[in-house]
């Protein structure tokens, strides 16, 4: 069984936000909900880095630990999904998540939260694969079509990788080896120019 993972290469991400846009478009995400976002650290300073971040599909996911109605489940591919029919929109998963992945559409009255929405690794939800119901609730199920998440598939610099953890790790290892001409670099571009 594969173990699905995202990996974002901070040496390659150029903060183009195409992954965010692709995700929104592919999964028909409403305004105010962002399953993926790009965070830039030290913007405009030396050592600036950007990273695209969404649900990282943790092995021991804090969202699942804290969920009061136990709506999370992990698929055989190691993807953390949730059942919107069970979710009550309490917001606890958002507080627990290290990556700020869970999103909440604003419901009508008293600004209360709607049902949680998050990255599904383009794997839909508990409904029948690629059904219209599944699409309405969870977005596209690309995995059932043999495709990987669109955010990673169309990343122009191939900074964002998605797929089996072993394969991703292998690709990254090769990159680090090729990149690290100097022992002082350790796979991260050096501040020293010379």
């Amino acid at each position: 069984m594969a173990r699905m993972k995202f990996y974002c290469d901070a040496e390659r991400c150029i903060e183009c936000n195409a992954c965010v846009t692709a995700c929104k478009n592919e999964n028909d995400i409403p305004w105010g909900v962002n399953r993926r976002r790009v965070v830039t650290i030290k913007d405009g300073e030396q050592g600036e880095r950007s990273l695209s971040v969404a649900c990282m599909h943790c092995s021991d996911a804090p969202c699942a630990v804290v969920c009061p109605v136990d709506c999370f489940y992990t698929t055989g591919d190691g993807i953390v999904l949730h059942d919107k029919d069970i979710c009550i929109g309490c917001g606890y998963c958002f507080y627990a998540c290290p990556f700020g992945a869970p999103q909440f559409p604003k419901d009508a009255a008293f600004a209360s939260r709607g049902k949680m929405d998050k990255c599904t690794f383009c794997a839909g939800g508990p409904e029948e694969d690629s059904s219209s119901e599944e699409f309405k609730k969870y977005g596209r199920n690309r995995l059932s079509e043999g495709k990987l998440p669109l955010c990673a598939e169309m990343c122009s610099t191939k900074a964002l990788l998605a797929g089996d953890a072993d394969v991703i790790a292998d690709i990254y290892r090769k990159r680090v080896v090729n990149r690290g001409a100097s022992a002082f670099n350790w796979g991260v571009s050096s501040d020293i120019k010379g």
């Binding site: 650290i41 009061p68 700020g100």
Partner: protein, 350 residues
Amino acid sequence: MRIQTLLLLFCLVLPQLSPAAGPPTNQDFPQGVSSISPGSELWREIRQRDGAILEGTSQVKSVDSGVLINARGEEWARFRVTKLSSYGGIAIAAIFVIVILLYVVRGKILIDGGLSGRMVRRFTDYERIVHWTLAIVFLFLAITGLILLLGKPLLIPLFGKEVFSVFASASKEGHNLFGPLFLVSLVMMFLSFARRNIYEKGDLTWLLKGGGIIGDGHVSGGFFNMGEKTWYWMVILIGFVIAISGLILVSPVFGQGRWIMELSHVVHTIGALILITVSVGHMYLGSIGSEGAMEGMKSGYVDINWADAHHDRWGKVCHDENLIVSAEEYARLQGRKPGDSGELATEQGK
């Protein structure tokens, strides 16, 4: 680049130049070889290992969207699951055990000489409305809150996720909707009872005598005794903290970050668990635990013997100012004919 290559070469060659045989030790490199990844510090900051939060920026504008990793979240999640729900559940189970034991061992606290049937006014209608509004709202919020806190370990195994989700959803909506009413009734409670709950001389004696739970004799008390006053101030102060933290939790529209929400949640839950636990004791002593106590909040009148036994200083005032109404008058006030129905008539017949 050339300097780096030379340095690297130097580092690699250095051990060979060392006169000491065997593997190199720290003494061979007095200056040490700096081989820290330039990225390690950055990632450590992002991972918030030192507690400091490194804020970035994002095109996505939402709460905490610039924070890459929220290290506190997991701590909070584990705390909620392993500490709050387990210790909370134990505390509530324990208070029920204590109350049952108290009932079995100590029994109902009876009034010396029984009930007289002659009553004295203790609470006005408005005061009783305030009490019962707060009580009903409190009970509703306690039950819905406990469903959300303890439902996963206790109710899901019984009903399954689908059924429990309906309960939990209703609990969440009800809790959010009626929560603000708790603050309103709390303010009403504060305004109508605060003055009589100020601690006074004699309260310490009551505490030292264990409030009459230990031993047989009734302990001297004023209109409210020390235990009631403490419960009152617990409700007011902890209740206020619960109400404010609840309002923070229920309105995620003011841009409050996750850390504030986590803190509010923990404060809200601990405060609520304390009040729920103590409220079980209050409910016991106000009903089956103490003879004649329930009458005060039911009709607004209490038996003069009950007043003398539990609140002798107030009872004395009632005697002095001649506030006692006869059984017949009391029945008339309650809209019943004398000897009509209810336990009062039975008391008269004795």
